[in-house]
C-alpha cells in the first residue's frame, strides 16, 4: 500500500496542476480582444483603462485588456520575452528612447491612415525609424523648471521666467540658500544633463540619427556638467537625494526649484498645501529642452492589427487624448487638444502650463536607435557617480565615451 503512495501523490499534484490550468480565466481570448501593455503608476494605468472603456463603447465588437506594469524595467523584460516567444501584446506604450530595439527588429506594424497634420512634428520624428513613422505618439512633453513661488517670495528672489539664463539660475540658487531655503534638486541622469549640454552649445551624441558615441568630452558639455554640479552646492546633493529625493522635498514645499518633465504634475497637484508653477529651463547660448514622448506601437504578430491600429488612433486622437490629458500627466501630441482647456486647465496648477507648448520649438530628442536605452542607462550610472563625487569630470566623460562607443557599435 505504501508503495503506491508516491504514485498517488504525483497523480494528486498533476490533478491540481490540471485544475489550476482549467481555472485560467484569460486563456480563451475572444478573437477581437486587444492586449494593450503599458508601464506606469496606478493613476496612469487607470486612465488608460478608462480610455479603453471609451474605445469599447465606440467599437462594440472589440474588447480591450490593459496589462499595466508598474516599473519600466519590468515592462521592457515582459515585452522582450513576449516578442522573443512570438506572443507579443497587440499594442504597447513606449518611450522613444526605448523603442529602438523593437523598431530595429522589424516587429512594429507602421500606423495606417493617420492625419499627421493634426500632430506636432517633433514627437512624430522621434518615432520615425529609418524614414518611416512606426508608432503614434500620445504626448510631447519636455523638461522645465518647477518652482515654488512662496519660497522665492520669502527669499525676495524674482521667480524664473522665459529667457532667464544659466547665471540667473545660479544667482537665484545662491540667494535662496542664503535665505535658508533649499534651492534646487534634480535627477542625476542623462535626462537632466542633455538639455544643459545643448543649451551650452554642446552635443550629447555625434549623430542623433546614427550615433557612434556620446560626446560629453567637448568643452561646452564639460562646462554644462560643471555648472550642474556646482548648482548642487545650493540644493539637494547626491547623498541627500538618495535619502530623500528632491521630488519629495518639492512636493512637501521645502524645495524652491525642481527640474523635470510634465510627469511630475499629478503628484504635485495632490499636495494640497503646495503652490507651484513652471518656467522654461535657463538658457546659456541657445534655447533647448529634452523631448519626452511615449507612443502606442502595434505589434506585427499581435493578431488583431486592424483593431490595434484603430485603438492607437483613438488613443492619440481627441477622444482618447482628452482622457489621458485630464490626468495632468501628458502634454497631448494632438495640436488642437494641447491648446484646449483640457490641457491648459486654467483652474489648476501650474498656472503657466503653456510653457510646455512654448517649449515645443526648442525640444530636442535623444537617439532612438536599438542600443540607445542601454547606452543611456550606462551613462546615467556614471553621471550619478560624478554628482556623488565618486568620479572626477575627466573620469566620467572618459568612461561615458568609451562605454558608449562599445555599446553603440553593437
Amino acid at each position: 500500500m505504501r508503495k503506491t503512495f508516491a504514485a498517488r501523490a504525483l497523480a494528486a499534484a498533476a490533478l491540481l496542476l490540471l485544475l489550476a490550468a482549467c481555472s485560467d480565466e484569460g486563456g480563451a481570448d475572444a478573437p477581437a480582444t486587444l492586449i494593450v501593455q503599458a508601464a506606469g503608476g496606478e493613476s496612469e494605468i487607470q486612465a488608460i483603462e478608462q480610455m479603453a472603456k471609451a474605445f469599447e463603447a465606440k467599437f462594440a465588437d472589440v474588447r480591450v485588456e490593459v496589462v499595466g506594469v508598474a516599473q519600466q524595467g519590468d515592462h521592457m523584460a515582459r515585452l522582450s520575452t513576449a516578442f522573443a516567444a512570438g506572443e507579443p501584446p497587440d499594442v504597447f506604450l513606449l518611450n522613444y528612447r526605448r523603442f529602438g530595439q523593437f523598431a530595429a527588429r522589424g516587429v512594429i506594424d507602421p500606423p495606417q491612415d493617420l492625419s499627421i497634420d493634426d500632430y506636432y512634428i517633433q514627437p512624430l520624428n522621434a518615432f520615425t525609424f529609418e524614414g518611416r513613422l512606426l508608432c503614434l505618439p500620445q504626448n510631447v512633453s519636455s523638461s522645465v523648471t518647477y518652482f515654488n513661488p512662496s519660497l522665492f517670495a520669502k527669499a525676495g528672489v524674482p521667480v524664473p521666467k522665459a529667457g532667464w539664463t544659466f547665471a540667473d539660475m545660479r544667482s537665484a540658487a545662491e540667494r535662496l540658500q542664503a535665505a535658508g531655503i533649499e534651492a534646487i534638486g534634480f535627477e542625476h541622469t542623462m535626462r537632466t544633463v542633455a538639455p544643459f549640454v545643448w543649451s551650452a552649445g554642446g552635443e550629447v551624441v555625434d549623430n542623433v540619427a546614427k550615433p557612434t558615441q556620446i560626446t560629453l568630452d567637448t568643452p561646452p558639455a564639460r562646462a554644462a556638467l560643471t555648472y550642474l554640479k556646482d548648482l548642487l552646492r545650493f540644493g539637494v546633493n547626491a547623498a541627500e537625494e538618495a535619502a530623500d529625493p528632491a521630488e519629495e522635498r518639492f512636493a512637501r514645499g521645502e524645495l524652491a526649484m525642481f527640474l523635470d518633465s510634465r510627469r511630475a504634475v499629478p503628484k504635485f497637484r495632490k499636495s494640497e498645501a503646495l503652490r507651484f508653477d513652471v518656467a522654461p529651463l535657463p538658457v546659456d547660448k541657445q534655447r533647448a529642452t529634452l523631448l519626452a514622448s511615449d507612443a502606442y506601437c502595434v505589434s506585427k504578430e499581435g493578431g488583431h492589427t486592424e483593431e490595434a491600429h484603430e485603438f492607437a488612433r483613438f488613443a492619440v486622437g481627441p477622444e482618447g487624448g482628452r482622457i489621458l490629458a485630464a490626468t495632468g500627466r501628458t502634454v497631448p501630441s494632438h495640436m488642437e487638444l494641447s491648446r484646449s482647456d483640457v490641457f491648459l486647465a486654467p483652474n489648476e496648477q501650474p498656472p503657466s502650463a503653456s510653457v510646455w507648448l512654448d517649449n515645443i520649438d526648442a525640444v530636442r530628442p535623444l537617439p532612438n536607435v536599438g542600443p540607445w536605452n542601454e547606452t543611456e542607462e550606462n551613462a546615467s550610472d556614471a553621471l550619478e557617480q560624478f554628482f556623488a563625487d565618486k568620479l572626477s569630470l575627466d573620469q566620467t566623460v572618459a568612461r561615458i565615451t568609451d562605454e558608449s562607443k562599445r555599446l553603440l557599435s553593437r
Binding site: R2, K3, L17, A20, A21, I45, T81, S271
Partner: protein, 292 residues
C-alpha cells in the same frame, strides 16, 4: 567527484556534530551574537510594520518613526481599494499548495536517486545539477514562454507551479542528495535484500531519516514560490490569475504619500511565510545541524 565536504559522506556521528554546534550556546558572547543577528534581520521587518501603520495620504516620514504619524490600520483597509487582496492571496496559496509538496517530492526523489547511483554516474549527475545552478535565469525566460504557450497554459497559474516539477531549484536536489548520503548505505542495502523496491526504500527507510532536510526544502520552496514575482510578471496577464507579488508591484506605482499601502501589502506578503517558518524552525535547525 567533488571533494567539498558538502558532498562527502559524513564520517562523524550526527550527535557529536550537534553538540559541537551547541557548545557555546550558553556563553554570553553567543547570546550577544545571536541577539545581533536577530536585530539585523528584524529591523527591516520593524520598519515594514511600523511604516504600514502610518496614515495614508501624508508625505513620507523623513526618518525612522517609532510611533508612526496618525498610527492606525487605514493602509490595510485601503489595500483592497487598490488590489484584489483576497483573490491574490487565494492564487498565491493555490500555487504554494501545489508547488511546495511537489518540490519536496521531486527533490527527494532526485536526491535519493543520485545518492544511490554508482560513483561515476553520481559525479556526472552532481556536475549537471551544479551546472544548472549557474545558468542565468533570463536564459530560460523565452524557452519557458514558448513551452507554456505551446501547452496552452500561458496566462494561468500553471507556469508558476511548473518549476516544482524540476524541484524548483537544483539547490533543493543537492540538499536532499547530501541528506541521503549521510544515511548509512547498509540500511538501504538491507531493505533491498528484504525485497523492497526503490520507491518503498525511499519512502520507508530514506524519507523518515531526512525529515529535517525535507522540511528545509519545503521552507525554501515556500519562500521561492510565495515570493515568485518574475514568473508571474512574464507568464500571467489576466488580473484574475495574478498572485500577491504581482499585486504588490502594482502598489509600487502608487504615489509616495500612499507608501503605507505598499508597506501594508508587503506585510501581508511577508507574514504567512514568516509564521510558517517560525512553526518549522526546530526541524529546520535540525537540517542545519545534521539529520537526527
Amino acid at each position: 567527484m567533488p571533494t567539498s565536504p558538502f558532498f562527502e559522506r559524513s564520517a562523524r556521528p550526527e550527535r557529536a556534530e550537534r553538540s559541537k554546534f551547541g557548545s557555546g550556546a550558553g556563553s554570553g558572547a553567543a547570546v550577544v551574537g545571536r541577539a545581533a543577528v536577530v536585530v539585523v534581520f528584524l529591523t527591516p521587518v520593524a520598519f515594514l510594520v511600523l511604516g504600514s501603520l502610518r496614515a495614508v495620504g501624508i508625505p513620507p516620514a523623513k526618518g525612522f518613526e517609532l510611533i508612526p504619524e496618525g498610527a492606525g490600520f487605514e493602509a490595510y483597509r485601503a489595500l483592497n481599494d487598490h488590489i484584489p487582496i483576497g483573490l491574490l492571496l487565494r492564487n498565491s496559496a493555490l500555487v504554494a499548495l501545489v508547488a511546495v509538496p511537489l518540490t519536496v517530492l521531486v527533490a527527494s526523489w532526485a536526491g535519493f536517486a543520485m545518492a544511490q547511483l554508482p560513483r561515476r554516474a553520481r559525479t556526472v549527475a552532481l556536475a549537471a545539477t551544479l551546472g544548472m545552478l549557474v545558468i542565468p535565469l533570463p536564459l530560460v525566460w523565452v524557452p519557458r514562454f514558448v513551452l507554456y504557450n505551446r501547452l496552452g497554459v500561458i496566462d494561468s497559474l500553471v507556469p508558476l507551479m511548473a518549476p516544482a516539477l524540476a524541484a524548483t531549484t537544483p539547490f533543493t536536489v543537492l540538499l536532499t542528495y547530501r541528506a541521503f548520503r549521510r544515511v548509512p548505505p547498509e540500511l538501504f542495502e538491507a531493505a533491498r535484500l528484504e525485497g523492497a523496491g526503490a520507491l518503498s526504500t525511499w519512502w520507508r527507510i530514506g524519507l523518515p531519516l531526512v525529515r529535517s532536510t525535507t522540511t528545509a526544502v519545503a521552507a525554501i520552496a515556500l519562500a521561492l514560490h510565495w515570493g515568485n514575482y518574475l514568473d508571474a510578471l512574464l507568464y500571467v496577464r489576466t488580473p484574475g490569475n495574478r498572485t500577491l507579488p504581482l499585486g504588490l508591484s502594482q502598489l509600487a506605482g502608487l504615489d509616495t504619500n500612499d507608501a503605507p499601502i505598499l508597506l501594508a501589502g508587503a506585510v501581508v506578503l511577508t507574514l504567512p511565510p514568516l509564521l510558517l517558518l517560525a512553526l518549522v524552525q526546530r526541524p529546520l535547525l535540525g537540517a542545519v545541524q545534521g539529520e537526527r
